[in-house]
């Protein structure tokens, strides 16, 4: 096939979407990631990293920093442009749900058939292609400024490029296996990026925790994929999901396992796949990795939470919805087991995470828990059959959550800037050693951060983060690590630039960040009518209420849980905005917090503005047509554009839920009520420095529980992590291998050695008696005939002559030759 036909054929174009970032990854990794070696004490290396007593460390050169950034940006822009072309192409197709853009080729042979791998652009992919590259591009631009002083910026760009490439691969995949490839590569990237500042214990532990926790789910999901492949002989979305016969067959064949539960094959596969999402999208009980993932640089948080990883989990279940719902009929209140699982887990997680978010002080942790909660909204929505609503919320949430994360990153960056300023001021005023100036200017949380957070509330420090890595030796051999005497001397308590109680009044010095954060926050809180979050959340509640009216238990449960969670969401959002931006600065650092000027400030605010725009307007595509006034403006023709478009992905387009005023009122009430409650506590009379969080008094004994996230981490460490470490080191290795197997072998060896010894002793008296006697006799005989061999040749010949004579005589006498001759 020649290049022109490749380009002109729309079916092949989606292949190019992931190519840009992936190529950027390869180019940066192999070519442009060049470092120079400078002493670690140098300012250029960044103060938050250990200085290793001036050991030479690699720092990316200025040229390769610029080139890598440019390559990364070109890569993602290329993906974005191609995506836009594909999207335009897709919009131009009538009935895209039927006439999808697809192309595939053989990936490997399987017997006489072959496994095909390819791309698919249907309506669901199309909306993802609108959201993902856009969000990724914003994140890339933002990273230019955010990582501008990092000694390893090239590595960062190569990794986020791979991350974006993997996400785009996942989105355009036409089969579950390729989706899984993107899924796992993203897992790797998140692992690498969370542990990006790998010197820090908290960072690498969080990375390991994230990877391990999601892997728990991934291996189950792999089983689901294998099971699906075994049952249908294909993994292609179109072949399975767009084929009623296959779905029906799966729904009617009994499951291969757990037969007693009466599940169908489709149910078991579905449950396996949903478990995958529970891990990837951080649903209870596998949510623990996500808050810790905040250890990574902020663009990573945005990437993980908004554009890519957690969205991937929800995207996958939306994609597999026909299979998950096979055997059930959500319209009639009959839910298949995977849907029950989704609705229960999702609803519970939504509320559970929202309660935790209320009591967090770290600006990014609040957002992390809010993400978990919002993902719970989507999962539970899908669980009750609200397919469109789940997809809708996925898109809107991606926009405002990316915005919020990046805005919070700006806040942290500003706070560090302020901190730097304060320290310099100190250094000048009091003549402190200049090392202090370099300390902690970097957006890394210092290791003492946990204590700092806890110190504010006076609670016991949480027992750190789960060390899933399974250190066989909990005590790090610090004896080998020379004490970090070279580290900058700490002046006073460690300052935490992420703690909201250190902030306050930031609206004055960081106005752009404030207004964009406000818009994002309101969207998250579902501020009525004008924000995207309202419309998508309202649609979920509407669907749930519709089911409740029909008397479906699951829908009622989801409705109640989500309504309460939405209230809490609005509340903690207001709390966050109030603590961060309102009132007066509670610390010196906050007073001087700013983004500064130049490229850093521009690249860190431009994406916020773009995303803020989408955080508001993205909702209008999904307004219910029967909504008073607005419905007729945005959704003419009896259906909302989003619903009609995305619904076509399914075999039978889901019916629009009839408009009901009650859930809308509930949406209004919980959103405004939550915001008002937050306003009362944190806005009307802003907290001043040293004041205790009102939550502490209001919640009383519940507060520490929420603060410590229901002690789930501690539970997991005791129940899973420590026992498996113990089992690995003591049972699997020492007991079974060293003890039993090798013990058995050495027992055999000992028995045989014993038998051998016995035989040896036997030899000594029996066999040696005979054996030694014979050679001795021979030796004596040999000594005796030795004199015959004089070495004189003539003597030998004499023997020969004599022997010949004797033999001749004997011969003559015995045969009578002499007689015969006359």
């Amino acid at each position: 096939m020649d290049w022109n036909s490749f380009i002109s054929n729309g079916n092949f174009l989606p292949w190019l979407i992931p190519v840009g970032p992936l190529l950027a990854f390869l180019i940066i990794t192999l070519l442009t990631n060049r470092s120079k070696w400078i002493p670690a004490t140098s300012e250029e290396y960044g103060g938050s990293h250990p200085d290793y007593g001036g050991m030479l460390v690699p720092v990316v050169t200025d040229t390769s920093r610029v080139v890598s950034v440019v390559v990364g940006l070109i890569g993602i822009l290329f993906a974005w442009i191609v995506s836009l072309i594909v999207v335009a192409h897709a919009f131009a197709i009538d009935h895209l749900g039927e006439n999808v853009i697809a192309s595939s080729g053989t990936w490997f042979d399987t017997g006489v058939t072959a496994f095909k791998m390819g791309i698919l652009v249907d309506p669901l992919t199309t909306i993802m292609l609108i959201m993902v590259p856009l969000a990724c591009t914003c994140i890339f631009i933002y990273s230019v400024g955010y990582m501008a002083h990092d000694p390893r910026q090239s590595r960062f760009f190569s990794l986020i490029a791979l991350f974006a490439g993997a996400m785009l691969t996942l989105v355009v995949a036409d089969n579950l296996l390729l989706l899984f490839v993107g899924w796992e590569v993203m897992g790797l990237c998140s692992y690498m990026l969370i542990g990006f500042w790998f010197e820090k214990e908290s960072a690498y532990k969080a990375a390991i925790k994230a990877f391990t926790t999601t892997r728990v789910a991934d291996v189950i999901m792999l089983l689901g994929i294998a099971y699906l492949y075994a049952s249908t002989g294909t993994l292609s979305f179109r072949d399975i999901l767009h084929n009623q016969a296959t779905l029906t067959a799966l729904a009617h064949s009994p499951a291969i396992l757990f037969g007693g539960l009466g599940w169908s094959a489709a149910s078991l596969i579905g449950i396996f796949l949903v478990v995958g999402t529970i891990g990837k999208s951080a649903q209870f009980p596998l949510h623990v990795w996500l808050p810790d993932a905040m250890e990574g640089p902020t663009p990573v948080s945005a990437m993980i939470h908004a554009a890519a990883m957690v969205s991937a989990g929800v995207y996958m279940i939306i994609r597999m919805y026909p299979l998950l719902s096979a055997g059930g009929d959500p319209g009639a209140g009959i839910l298949s087991p995977p849907m029950v699982l989704m609705s229960v887990v999702g609803a519970f997680t939504a509320l559970f995470a929202a309660t935790i978010a209320v009591a967090q002080n770290d600006i990014k942790k609040v957002l992390a828990y809010s993400t978990i909660s919002q993902l719970g909204f989507m999962v539970s929505a899908l669980g009750i059959g609200a397919y469109i609503a789940a997809a809708f919320h996925l898109i809107t949430h991606a926009f405002f959550k990316a915005l919020l994360f990046m805005a919070s990153g700006s806040v942290i960056h500003g706070m560090e800037h302020g901190e730097h300023h304060v320290h310099e001021h100190h250094a000048h005023a009091h003549g402190h050693d200049e090392l202090a100036a370099a300390h902690d200017q970097h957006p890394a949380m210092s290791e003492a951060h946990v204590e700092a957070v806890e110190a504010v509330t006076g609670e016991e420090p949480a027992a750190a983060i789960g060390d899933e890595s399974g250190e066989g030796h909990p005590a790090e051999p610090t004896a080998h690590v020379e004490p970090h005497a070279e580290q900058p001397t700490k002046v006073g308590p460690v300052f935490d630039p992420q703690d909201m109680f250190n902030m306050g009044g930031l609206r004055k010095t960081m106005p752009v960040t404030f207004y964009t954060f406000l818009l994002g926050g309101l969207s998250l809180a579902g501020f009525p009518l004008i924000t995207a979050g309202f419309w998508s959340k309202d649609e979920i509640l509407g669907d749930a209420w519709h089911g409740t009216l029909l008397g479906f238990g699951a829908s009622a449960l989801v409705f109640i849980f989500l309504a309460v969670a939405a209230f809490l969401t609005a509340f903690y959002t207001m709390r966050q905005i109030g603590l961060t931006f309102w009132g007066d600065a509670r610390t010196e650092e906050a007073k001087h917090a700013s983004l500064g000027k130049g490229i850093v400030a521009v690249t860190m605010t431009l994406p916020l503005i773009i995303l803020a725009f989408f955080a508001v307007v993205a909702g209008f595509v999904g307004v219910s047509p029967q909504f008073p006034i607005l419905g007729s403006i945005f959704s003419s023709g009896g259906f909302s554009p989003f619903e009609h478009f995305v619904g076509a992905t399914l075999l039978t387009e889901p019916e629009a839920v009839p408009f009901n005023v009650f859930p809308v009122l509930v949406s209004f009430a919980v959103s405004l009520g939550g915001l008002y409650a937050g306003y009362l506590l944190y806005w009307r009379k802003p907290l001043v420095a040293g004041e205790v969080d009102p939550m502490v008094n209001m919640l009383g004994p519940v507060y520490p529980i929420l603060k410590n996230k229901y002690y789930v981490d501690e539970l997991y460490i005791r129940v899973f992590v420590k026992p498996s470490q113990w089992f690995a080191a003591n049972v699997a290795y020492q007991f079974i291998d060293k003890g039993i197997i090798d013990g058995f072998l050495s027992l055999i060896a000992r028995v045989f050695t014993w038998i051998g010894d016995l035989l040896k002793n036997l030899n000594l008296w029996l066999i040696d008696g005979v054996g030694d006697g014979v050679p001795e006799a021979i030796g004596k005989f040999g000594g005796w005939i030795r004199w015959l061999q004089s070495g004189e040749i003539q003597q030998y010949m004499l023997y020969v002559a004599i022997a010949a004579l004797v033999i001749g005589i004997i011969f003559a006498l015995t045969t009578g030759v002499l007689h015969a001759a006359p």
Partner: protein, 102 residues
Amino acid sequence: MVPLYMYLLVAAGMFCIGVYGVLARRNAVAILMSVELMLSAVNINLIAFWRYGAPTLIAGQVFAAFVFVIAAAEASVGLAIIISIYRTRRSVTVEDVNLLKG
């Protein structure tokens, strides 16, 4: 015509002289010469038996020719050994060469 036994007597005499020479002489060259004498005796026997026993066949002469060749080869090898021994030991007396002594 001379009868056969006359030839045999001559051959036997030569052979005995040869055996005596081999066993009694101390000079290795003389021993070698004695061996040649023994071979010549054998040759006389072979030719005589051929002439009187089967004069139509060529085998007897062929055997004799073989013996000549072997004798020549043996003499050359023997002489080479003797020269080599002489070079190392400055002697061709066989009693001095008793390395095979057990």
